[in-house]
């Protein structure tokens, strides 16, 4: 419940950001650099005189939209892959699974940096990289859930009446793996936020002057002693958002476990 509340507030902030934020994200307010939080500037201003609150509000868009898009894509691709290899098993499963294991053996952040370094940093780049990184993880979860269902009587009954593979995968098996998929998807979302913020911090995120929370943390690092609020605000926002998404994911898990008992 709390998770849902936090996430809803952040999403609303992202949508209505331009109306909430008192200033534009790149607006430099003259003579107002390095101001402590006040009624005018809720989170103060940074060393260039930009309103930190406005930048955090504007930044919510990218930090939510990109991971959401990426994790949704990863869930979609992962579900398809997982259902497919879980259902068929055999050689194709071994090949795909071992390839994915190989991919997962490399630290995610490192791989993301290398890929972004190669293709250049952009919003689309970030989405593509995160999708590629998280698809195998989702696929693994879906695959193991599929393995549990694959040999059930009702799947065999469907085969015996000559159903197509697509029907069996998406109409017979998918409903059964959906709980696991939703929970995994929400978890992937929180990790994707974290990864996006990390990439931003390392300078591989959305390029300036767009307000990126990770980059904001990095920028504020140098002047931490003078403008600590410029660091605390985006860092706190990242933490709060991730906590919110995780709580939401826990909640979903509990709901599904309860329903799982009924089924």
């Amino acid at each position: 419940m709390i998770g849902l509340l936090i996430v809803t507030i952040f999403i609303l902030t992202a949508i209505f950001g331009p109306w909430i934020a008192p200033y534009r994200y790149d607006e430099i307010i003259r003579g107002a650099a390095r101001q402590a939080p006040s009624a005018d500037h809720l989170f103060g201003t940074d060393r260039l005189g930009r309103d930190v609150f406005s930048r955090v509000v504007w930044g919510a868009r990218d930090i939510i939209a990109l991971p959401l898009l990426a994790s949704a894509l990863a869930v979609f691709l992962g579900a398809c892959t997982g259902l497919f290899i879980g259902y068929y098993g055999g050689t194709i499963d071994e090949l795909v699974s071992r390839t994915m294991d190989g991919l997962l053996a490399i630290p995610a952040l490192l791989l993301a940096m290398v890929m972004l370094g190669t293709i250049g940093s952009s919003a689309i780049g970030i989405v593509v990289v995160i999708t590629l990184l998280y698809t195998p993880i989702v696929a693994r979860v879906v695959r193991s859930a599929t393995l549990n269902i694959r040999d059930s009587g009702y799947i065999e009954a469907a085969k015996l009446r000559g159903e197509s593979t697509a029907f069996i995968l998406f109409r017979e098996i998918l409903p059964g793996v959906l709980p696991a998929l939703v929970v995994e998807g929400s978890l992937r979302f929180s990790y994707a936020i974290f990864l996006t913020a990390s990439l931003g911090f390392l300078g591989l995120g959305v390029q300036p002057p767009s307000p990126d929370w990770g980059r904001m943390v990095n920028d504020a690092r140098d002047s931490f002693s003078q403008t600590p609020w410029a660091l605390w605000a985006p860092a706190g926002a990242i933490a709060l958002l991730i906590i919110g998404v995780n709580l939401l994911s826990d909640g979903l898990r509990r709901i599904f476990r309860y329903e799982g008992q009924l089924v």
Binding site: S152, G153, L160, R161, G176, V263
Partner: protein, 692 residues
């Protein structure tokens, strides 16, 4: 008078459910003396496991004793603390659980697990305890106990695991042994051996035992006294002979009548008990059994009968037992015959010729290196034919290949070689090469009703989907009517169409699965142990249903089971399989009567007859089913055969002997000689069930 080992007086147990306490057991009285084996019988949900655990004071945290007292060796233990009980558990009571593998710790060796008990209870040293453990294993008849003691639980077969749990339960020499359906997951032949062992060990230890079971045959053969539970109340309790020979309670009478036995008539039906067992939440004002009782009066619905003592500890809870006892009230258990003619027709519905299936364990890596397959030959050159409108019973222990054969026929596995003919036309071995017209002639009822239905689809959706695959021209109304008709055929109301599988009981799910199998009007329905996971009273309902449907819909069955009683009730032709091969085939009478293959003889003899006065000269199969990876040479049965004649059995595969009328036996012993031999059981293997 001797003090009973365990006694319960008017014991009541409640469970905490959402928003209050629900009564699970009401006014249970029970006494077990030493050397006595007390049977506890009831359907699932009748509270028999709860009672067994309650006697040990080992209840779930959400249960409480709401009334009554428990005595152990004359001492009241109703209010003992957990610490006081801990001294009694193990030494006073021990439990042999239903699922042996789940109750053994997978990360300790067998020897360590048994030794741990004596180290704790008798303060033995490590070396002494280890020696003791090996001695215990020897006593439960495990060959080569030193080796077994060093193994881990998963390395043993199911029968061995169960022996280990028995060894553990006995190693602290308990006064009371509680056996909670310890043989339900075992094969009949293994079951028979384990039961002999119980009998012997209980006598040797001077212990008492409570045997929880739903199998009346076993109880009749094993127990001295029996208590029948229904809806958490004692219905009757009596010495075993009285209960089986002169049952007085309508429930007991109906339960005994519903057991399948070999029938001679074509279309007799099993008497069944209508309705379902009551739920925990709503305990009726009157007799708990009144709703399903064939002799219920108004009084039975209004007033709860008292638990009366007839004589010598024979208890009964029924308003009308006196009328039953003096014969003025007859409980109608006569099977209802249905006037549908369903004699087998000429011609075959299905023929399988030389089916072979080997399960390889070749991984990608093995194939790449060109390593040979070390396959399991699950089905080895098996041929069979199913006549129209008949039932072929396929019998064998687990590992005999019977399920694999069925799956090859229906196409869920692809046979390596062989030919299939459906309705006298060739049928592809591969499921995806079969035409829709062929698919709809072959349907299957699965063993486990719980995963036979998609939990996210309503009953109606599941059935109508199957119909639509057959006939896409049906209108919505026609489809709806057809679903209702099918539900009717399996004795369910049309309202069931809107329910989800989670809202159904096991028996109801199996009926829906049967309805779905019949949705396409198939020529052949494969039923893989369709009753094995159901209660006795539900089993008879399903068996009747299958028999009725065969008559009404004109289908044939391939009925797979390890339960010879159920097979002989339903089947008119029987095929016995052992290690991937057919060893005997014939009609029901031919298979049941001599001459029969020694393996069939052992299977038949392992069935516990629900009649305590019948002394069963039981034949016990020694040893374990050999691995299908390394098949025995010669006759595959020679390693366990009680009638092995000599070297020829080990060297040469036995010939098929024609015993007339299509009755074939695969054995080296000539049929006439077998007939003579089987008048008397083999000397070496006779165990008189109640002889001592």
């Amino acid at each position: 008078m001797t003090t009973p080992v365990i006694a319960a007086e008017a014991l009541s147990i409640d469970y905490k459910l959402e928003g209050g306490w629900a009564n699970a057991l009401l006014d249970i009285s029970l006494e077990i003396n030493s050397l006595e084996i007390h049977g506890l019988v009831g359907e699932s949900g009748s509270g028999k496991s709860t009672l067994a655990l309650a006697l040990m004071r080992y209840l779930a945290p959400n249960a409480r004793i709401s009334g009554g007292r428990i005595f152990f060796d004359g001492e009241e233990i109703t209010h003992h603390s957990a610490a006081q009980m801990r001294a009694l558990w193990g030494r006073g009571f021990s439990l042999v659980p239903q699922d042996a593998l789940a109750s053994l710790n997978p990360s300790y060796t067998i020897g360590e697990q048994i030794a741990e008990i004596t180290r704790l209870h008798d303060g033995l040293t490590r070396a002494q305890a280890r020696a003791g453990a090996i001695e215990m294993l020897r006593r439960v008849k495990i060959a080569d106990p030193e080796t077994v003691a060093a193994r881990y639980p998963h390395q043993l077969s199911g029968g061995m695991q169960q022996r280990v749990t028995i060894a553990m339960a006995l190693s602290a020499r308990p006064r009371l042994l509680i056996l909670d359906e310890p043989t339900t997951s075992l094969d009949v032949t293994t079951e028979a051996v384990i039961l002999d062992l119980f009998r012997e060990l209980i006598r040797e230890n001077g212990a008492a035992a409570l045997y929880v079971s739903h199998d009346l045959g076993l109880v009749a053969q094993l127990c001295d006294r029996v208590t029948v539970l229904y809806g958490g109340e004692v219905m009757a309790s009596a010495p075993v002979t009285d209960l089986f020979k002169r049952p007085l309670h309508p429930y007991t009478i109906s339960l005994l009548a519903s057991l399948p036995r070999p029938t001679t008539g074509v279309e007799t039906r099993l008497p069944t008990i209508p309705g379902a067992a009551p739920s925990l939440a709503e305990r009726p004002r009157g007799c708990v059994f009144a709703d399903r009782c064939p002799a219920a009066e108004q009084r039975c619905h209004d007033e709860k009968p008292a638990l009366e003592v007839i004589h010598d500890g024979r208890l009964i809870k029924c308003h009308r037992w006196r009328e039953i006892a003096d014969g003025s009230l007859q409980i109608d258990t006569s099977p209802k015959t249905r006037g549908v003619d369903a004699a087998p027709r000429p011609g075959h519905v299905l023929q399988a010729i030389s089916i072979r299936k080997t399960f390889g364990r070749r991984s990608l890596f093995d194939r790449w290196l060109g390593r040979p397959s070390s396959g399991v030959r699950a089905v080895d050159d098996v041929s069979l034919a199913i006549r129209r409108r008949s039932t072929l019973g396929l019998v064998g222990e687990s590992g005999s290949g019977k399920t694999t054969l069925a799956r090859c026929i229906i196409g869920l596995e692809t046979a390596d070689s062989g030919e299939l003919e459906l309705l006298e036309l060739p049928l592809s071995l591969r499921l995806n090469e079969r035409k829709p017209a062929e698919l709809r002639e072959l349907q299957m009822v699965f063993q486990n009703p719980n995963d036979a239905l998609n939990p996210f689809m309503t009953v109606g959706a599941a059935i109508s989907r199957t119909i639509r695959r057959l006939d896409r021209t049906l209108s919505r109304e026609q489809l709806h009517d057809r679903v209702s008709a099918l539900l009717n055929a399996v004795r369910l109301t049309p309202e069931y169409a809107d329910r989800y599988p989670s809202e159904l009981s096991g028996g109801e799910k199996q009926r829906v699965a049967i309805a779905r199998a019949f949705a396409t009007n198939p020529a052949l329905v494969l039923a893989d142990e369709p009753t094995s996971s159901l209660d006795v009273s539900v089993q008879s309902v399903i068996l009747n249903l299958l028999k009725d449907l065969r008559a009404e819909q004109g289908a044939s069955y391939l009925f797979i089971s390890h339960d010879l009683r159920a097979v002989s009730y339903l089947a008119d032709w029987i095929v016995v399989m052992y290690l991937g091969e057919i060893v005997e085939t014939g009609d029901v009478d031919q298979v049941y009567l001599a001459p029969s293959h020694p393996y069939t003889e052992a299977l038949i003899s392992a069935i516990a007859v629900p009649d305590p006065t019948v002394k069963q000269g039981r034949i016990r199969l020694e040893g374990e089913l050999p691995s299908a990876r390394q098949l025995p040479s010669g006759c595959r049965f020679h390693t366990r055969c009680p009638r092995k004649v000599g070297a020829i059995c080990e060297q040469e595969a036995p010939p098929w002997q024609d015993c007339g009328d299509g009755h074939f036996i695969r054995c080296h012993i000539p049929a006439d000689e077998l007939r003579v031999l089987q008048q008397t059981p083999p000397e070496s293997a006779v165990v008189n069930a109640l002889g001592d």
